[in-house]
Amino acid sequence: MDYLEFAEDVVSRAVERGVEAEAYISVGQNTSVNVDRGEVEKLSQAGSKGLGVRVIRDGKMGYSYTSDFGAGSIEKTIESAVTLAEVADGDAYRSLPAPQPLLEEDLDIFDQAVVDLPIGRKVEMARRIEKAALRFDERVVLTNRCTLMSQYGTVAIANSKGVAGSYDKSFIGGFVMAMAADENDRSMAFGFDFGSRLADFKPTEIGKDAARKAVGMLGGRPVPTQRASVVYSPMAATSILGALSRSLGADAMQRNRSFLEGKIGEAVAADRVSVLDNGRLPGGIATRPFDDEGVPTAATRLIDEGVLQTALHDHYTATRDGTASSTGNANRRGHASMPTLDASNFYFQPGQETPEEVIGGVEQGLYVESVMNTASINPISGDYSISAKGYWIENGELSHPVNEVTIALPMQDLLHNVKAVGNDLTFVPMMGALGSPTIRVDGVMIGGSG
């Protein structure tokens, strides 16, 4: 089946009802293998498909979806979107994007080797993740959810303005929770790796990483409540980036839901801080030639040496802004969701110092390896208070493990208090793909014992 042709066909049927129309099709194959003590505990395989139809008439929008590609179901889906658009209220800025030239470049997001990977090899890779965790240290007593996932598929988008495009994407990833225990304590840590190319996928590293973190945290304890320097691992720093990406969305800014509203052109962070969003980063998890409404993706510098430059835009927010263009950040969580504004590969630009040098610059402070409850960080108020685990830094070196503490500082202050930026940019596949080097933030409130 030619999915782009199919999408175009759906659009032309919808247009007969006197609406602007867009069809989004996503088709894929998924495998997931779960091993426990070498045995395949759970294995799941299947193909899936879905169609989402968005229609607009007089600025009124309706959306409907289905996984049934039969002619009757398609008609019903179009009809339902048209009916919903009648219920919605009009908005003069609401329209579908016109086609823009797509750049011919290899974004490195599809690897035939992932498609051709036999199930036996996937099982073997899942076993390697587990084995690497269990062999790392005798205190690693078990693994949980040791999983290998692979996906590949096609996305096709067409609209009545003439947008028509499709691309293939592959994905291979794995994760594991390693549990370490000694006579006094137990600890669990998460390791994972995701990418689009088989050759770059390193199952052994996933297991080792989880095991290293779990063993390291044994005997962790809270430190006294105090204000101190905090060094974030790349993984922990994504707690800052996730909320920041939402605050930098033009939808949040236009609707009074961002602590950065009205600050374009102002210094919102220390001058060593630059933040980028790049939907065309070769091989990136969130990389694709065009976004989920067919607008070409782009590299956007949001914060340049501390100064806020622009917001993230989709077609709607750019139209509403009047002078901005879409930065190609319309995103969907599958065919059942309307496009919403989201970051793509969103990251802190790395600096010069090695992570060791960043840690070495701190006399007394907290090195944060992992964090929890980052969803609570408020992009409207900038309130930031989460739980953290890591190590106490004593004279520039990591000493004892620390757990059951909170780290808190309003985002407004946090961005200004960045005192060092490492050179070890690492991407974490969360909410798109967030990337950070090791960074140091001063004056963070640590909530702990006493």
């Binding site: 426990d36 919605a88 059942a336 609570s376 989460i386």
Partner: protein, 462 residues
């Protein structure tokens, strides 16, 4: 759905390679969602998600294949894919007679969603918006949402299980932002249940909005929360998210059978004060976690998790129950037909205790009252948890003296449970907005009376 003869042939196909249990799961989910933002009904979405899968067990292991094409041919193909994984098994099971099970759990929808027009549903969102905007000039953003979902499931297995469930959910959500000068604060609220349009007989989504607006306004002038250890009093109802996160997840059988949970091996042991009893009850009419049968066809139960401080039981799905050689407690749930089931909570709560709620607050010399809570998270292995206080108050000399913002609570679940020293008489369940994430999303209810923990770490900025 499909004729029972077709199901029978698919189950037989699942057993062909020597598996010891085959299961067919079918699902039809219809949903409508409306979002009103800036006073405009902006996003209206409707859709249908239909599919099914075949799961094949061999020993302690299972293989699953699914399809979004609900024909006998596609399910037979899925059965073939799943059965192939059991190739080395050498059982010769045959499919037992399929008999439709009945459930004592009432989950009858009195008035189906279709009896009210989409326009009328949108009109409620408009009222919610208007009431909120009119509440104060400092309200700068209002977002309201309505979602209705009808999820029908059919489960069959080769041991003769044939169970059907029909679950209907209504959810209203509201988000409010308030601003004074450079200071912005926000507040979220929601109400819902497993219910048809009779929802409107006794619940009013418009009424919750001014209260949410009040929280955002209150937080504008609130001082930053303190940091450090102190006594904490947690509100009833939604406060049950504490038990859900801190302890409930550690009592789900998947982590238990692996030996990976802080509560492994502790059945019969004292884990909390004498006056603490807690349940997971999937049978309460109208609650979000209620099911007539779980997603593996097992009847749901009122499971006593903790009785008078003694750990009694974990929450089991079919996979873990088979591993342990026992019966499921009806806690096997899956987000969609694309997911394999796992043990999940349903409606989980701490039962009423002996203390007067006012006396509980009155007993604290200097501490924090968590009046409204956001979401939380737990690391199951050790039981370390965190959750967010969205409206906190300082308690000074037994009185609520000042609102505080930006508070987070952290602790260790099993330790916090042991520390609880007062439990109120005012047990209530949350208003119906609980969503639990564990790799898959599941609707849940939480509940508790007012509870005091004498020492908990608060993560503020002062």
């Amino acid at each position: 759905m499909l004729p029972i003869e077709s199901i029978r042939r698919v189950l037989d196909a699942g057993l062909t390679k020597g598996a010891d249990l085959a299961e067919v799961y079918l699902e039809n989910k219809e949903s409508l969602s409306l979002i009103l933002d800036e006073g405009r009904l902006e996003k209206a979405t409707q859709g249908n998600d239909i599919g099914g899968g075949v799961r094949v067990f061999y020993g302690n292991n299972a293989a699953y294949a699914y399809t979004d094409d609900l024909t006998e041919a596609s399910l037979l193909e899925a059965a073939g894919v799943a059965a192939a994984a059991a190739e080395n098994a050498n059982n010769a099971q045959v499919c037992a007679d399929l008999t439709k099970r009945e459930s004592p759990v009432v989950s009858q929808i009195e008035r189906p969603f279709e009896e009210m027009s989409t326009q009328d549903k949108a009109a409620i969102l408009r009222q919610m918006d208007e009431v909120t905007r009119g509440h104060s000039p400092h309200i700068v953003s209002v977002q309201c949402g309505y979602t209705e979902t009808r999820r029908r499931v059919w489960v069959y297995n080769s041991e003769g299980v044939w169970a059907e469930d029909d679950r209907a959910f209504i959810e209203f959500q509201g988000q409010v932002a308030a601003q004074k000068g450079e200071v912005r604060q926000s507040s979220a609220t929601g109400v819902g249940g497993q219910v048809g349009l009779e929802f409107f007989d006794d619940r009013d989504p418009v009424a919750m909005m001014p209260e949410a607006a009040d929280t955002a306004l209150l937080m504008l002038d609130a001082r930053p929360a303190p940091a450090g250890e102190m006594p904490v009093v947690i509100t009833n109802g939604w406060g049950g998210v504490l038990f859900h996160e801190a302890c409930g997840h550690c009592m789900e059988a998947d982590f238990i059978t692996k030996g990976a949970s802080a509560y492994t091996g502790l059945v019969g042991e004292k884990v909390g004060p004498d006056f603490l009893t807690a349940y997971d009850d999937g049978t309460i009419p109208g609650q979000r976690g209620t099911m007539r049968f779980d997603d593996e066809g097992a009847p749901t139960n009122r499971t006593v998790l903790i009785e008078n401080g003694i750990l009694k039981e974990y929450m089991w799905d079919l996979t873990e129950a088979r591993r342990a050689g026992r019966a499921s407690t009806g806690n096997g749930r899956r987000q969609t037909f694309r997911d394999m089931p796992m043990p999940r909570m349903t409606n989980t709560y701490i039962d009423a205790g002996p203390h007067d709620p006012e006396e509980i607050i009155g007993s604290v010399k200097k501490g924090l009252y968590a009046k409204k809570l956001g979401g939380g998270q737990v690391e199951i292995g050790r039981g370390d948890y965190v959750f967010t206080v969205t409206e906190g108050w300082l308690i000074e000399d037994g009185k609520l003296t000042a609102p505080v913002r930006g508070a987070t609570l952290v602790g260790n679940g099993p330790e916090t449970l042991r520390l609880i020293d007062m439990i109120g008489t005012d047990m209530s369940l949350d208003p119906g907005r609980g969503m639990c994430g564990k790799g898959q999303w599941a609707r849940v209810s939480v509940g508790q009376p007012t509870v005091r923990v004498p020492k908990l770490t608060v993560g503020g900025t002062e």
